[in-house]
Symmetry: C2
Subunit: 395 residues, 2 copies
């Protein structure tokens, strides 16, 4: 009577949701201060004051029909011009509004790209650990998600493993740097090598392989870690961006796709993106937020809280005996679990009120994700508990 | 290299867009006062002041994370409670927030329903004249759109023609009342008869047939025309609503799906709707607008401009010798063209600067659509031109 796949996708509980709900119950039973919820990637830095001011000013001074009317499908020209200007200034690109397509956040941006590109039997590669919704999105457009095993020493790319996964059916490679869940930032060296491998394969297979750069965490990168602008290194790159994390606007659904002129057959790709946005019923990205972006694109994000939180959690985990890659970007740490079974480990952590997500959920068993976009004080109070948990394993 | 279907959908020009662009060129060449653009269904009544006030107050007084954070996928409970209350009060229903799923407008609401329900070989029925995007949306989820020919005397339903179109593959029937493009409102008699026919066919086929009520124009109905609340007449109804027209917020993408408890296997349907919203990457409906709706759901829309415009255009057309059903709702008239070929007729009208859309685009050849959500003065000045156009045909 209904599409059973949709029913399953709409009702299957995710581990993250499960963990979160357990936390709410624990808080109700034992008090908020007994819960250390590292499960959700919900930005906790407040939306910048300049965003609020821009939104209020637009509402109070502009004609309502100019604020709330339909925009053309690719988005308000003023928003796209402001974004192009900011990209050109920051990354030395030379794009214009014609290279941008506004979307309802990065989930829509990525899926619109998948839908635009996917033909029969196409494969989309990504690297473990990865954002689990990729599977759902790629499969929903008829593609197959191929996962390259993680390079757990540093969460850069295991190129040998990658090459084994590339086939003539590879339509695109999805990269997400700064990464959810590992917190790693791909180095320029990694991107250069990736571009080289893909160019070789493009020649070998005789067709383009697209690189889809899913970059909601671009602005959240710490000292010493620069996030290379991938279109500078590889022609067939599509950038998917969201203001969810940089401006703490996840509920408003605002982002974009950048299609550089260097992309193989730009007109075909941009046209197919417009068609995909249409059938996914993103009539236009929410119009007020397009106007806010027209005024605020490129303005800095305050990442000091994330920096402090990441450092504190990292140091605490290391002191407790965990192995973990240093915080580089985003707001996640992805330490090694203290036993092979990451589910069992996370279950054990729950006894202390420490709510963590098993790495298996991200295609990387034996690890766990701790989202540190929470109160700094909660992290401080959690450290002795991580220590106790680690001591259990030393007995 | 890309999905060719997406490329076509993203690049094929619609007649409406074509007409609109012609109008812009004409305005540039001969002056704005020479263009009478009846092509677009863009609401021209300003967004109500109370909507602006609510949005500004929410931005200025609430915690940013409470305003801009992710909501749960079905939508903010406060918004759904306010909508449920308003529906219960206005239509004597007894629904709760559990019966509502917030969406990014009606296009998303309808397509989410199509995607949730569509199984292999399913057919979706609709009635000419119809909103042309239905075809694109139904086909994109793998369904087949079956069009019941128009009942052009009054644009109610030709039940004989409808019964011929129903088959065991019929999954749902889409109704859009007040109607785009005909401006007709389905009477209670029509809805009762429709329910009776569908109930009979449900028994005959042994499975539910859903009625998808696409109702963005619900609030725009004129004196003497009441829009029946279809779930009161037919159990398996899903209501798709948008605030685009009632609150003049088309660019913000905010609406909902109402799934009554009476629907066959509520859990399956609601669950599949959640899954469909997920794969169509509507993570949540834009959060600020959900909060605005929580405060403003059910508040009245000012339709006086549309009423005045509709009456004036209708009377002018009748005086000029056109045949046309009286304005009942929405902001469209759908008169008979003065020659059989509606494209040729609209082409001829262009000479006078009258920009109209051929009925063929809505599955109803020989008619044309005139959207009267434009300046009242433009309509007034257009009437002598319609007269001249009609006189051409009398020679």
């Amino acid at each position: 009577m209904v599409d059973q796949k949709m029913y399953e996708l709409g009702t299957r509980k995710s581990t993250i949701r499960d963990v979160f709900e357990y936390g709410r119950k624990l808080a109700a039973a034992e008090g908020e201060d007994k819960v250390f919820d590292f499960s959700l990637g919900n930005p906790n830095v407040p939306t910048p004051e300049y965003i609020k001011e821009a939104a209020v000013d637009i509402l109070q001074t502009m004609e309502p029909s100019a604020v709330h009317g339909y925009t053309i499908a690719p988005g308000a020209p003023a928003a796209r011009r402001a974004i192009a200007k900011s990209i050109n200034e920051r990354f030395g690109m030379e794009i214009s509004e014609q290279n941008l397509f506004m979307t309802a956040g990065a989930a829509a941006a990525c899926t619109i790209c998948f839908k635009a590109l996917c033909e029969a039997e196409d494969e989309f590669l990504t690297f473990a650990p990865f954002f689990p919704e990729y599977r759902c999105f790629v499969e929903s457009v008829g593609g197959r998600l191929v996962v390259v095993p993680a390079k757990t020493e540093d969460f850069q790319i295991d190129f040998e493993a990658m090459e084994k996964c590339l086939t003539p059916h590879t339509k695109a490679v999805i990269v997400n740097s700064p990464n959810n869940p590992s917190g790693a930032v791909y180095s320029e060296e990694t991107i250069k090598k990736l571009a080289e491998v893909l160019r070789g394969k493009e020649k070998e297979y005789g067709h383009p392989i697209f690189l889809i750069a899913d970059e909601p965490y671009r602005e959240i990168a710490y000292e010493g870690f620069t996030v290379p602008y991938i279109p500078k290194f590889y022609e067939n790159t599509l950038v998917c961006y969201s203001y969810s994390k940089s401006f703490s606007l996840p509920g408003e659904r605002i982002g974009y796709i950048m299609v550089p002129d260097t992309v193989a057959d730009f007109q075909q790709v941009y046209g197919a993106i417009a068609g995909a946005a249409r059938v996914l019923t993103h009539v236009n990205a929410p119009s007020l937020w397009q106007l806010v972006i027209a005024r605020c694109a490129g303005r800095p994000s305050d990442i000091s809280t994330y920096r402090e939180n990441g450092q504190m959690l990292y140091q605490g985990l290391i002191d407790a005996g965990f192995t973990c890659v240093k915080p580089q970007g985003a707001f996640y740490l992805f330490p090694k679990a203290l036993e092979e079974d990451d589910y069992a480990f996370c279950e054990r952590a729950r006894k202390y009120g420490l709510l963590l997500v098993p790495g298996t959920d991200f295609g990387c068993p034996g690890y766990f994700r701790a989202a540190y976009c929470i109160k700094t004080d909660t992290i401080r109070r959690s450290l002795p508990l991580f220590k106790k948990l680690a001591e259990e394993y030393k007995k």
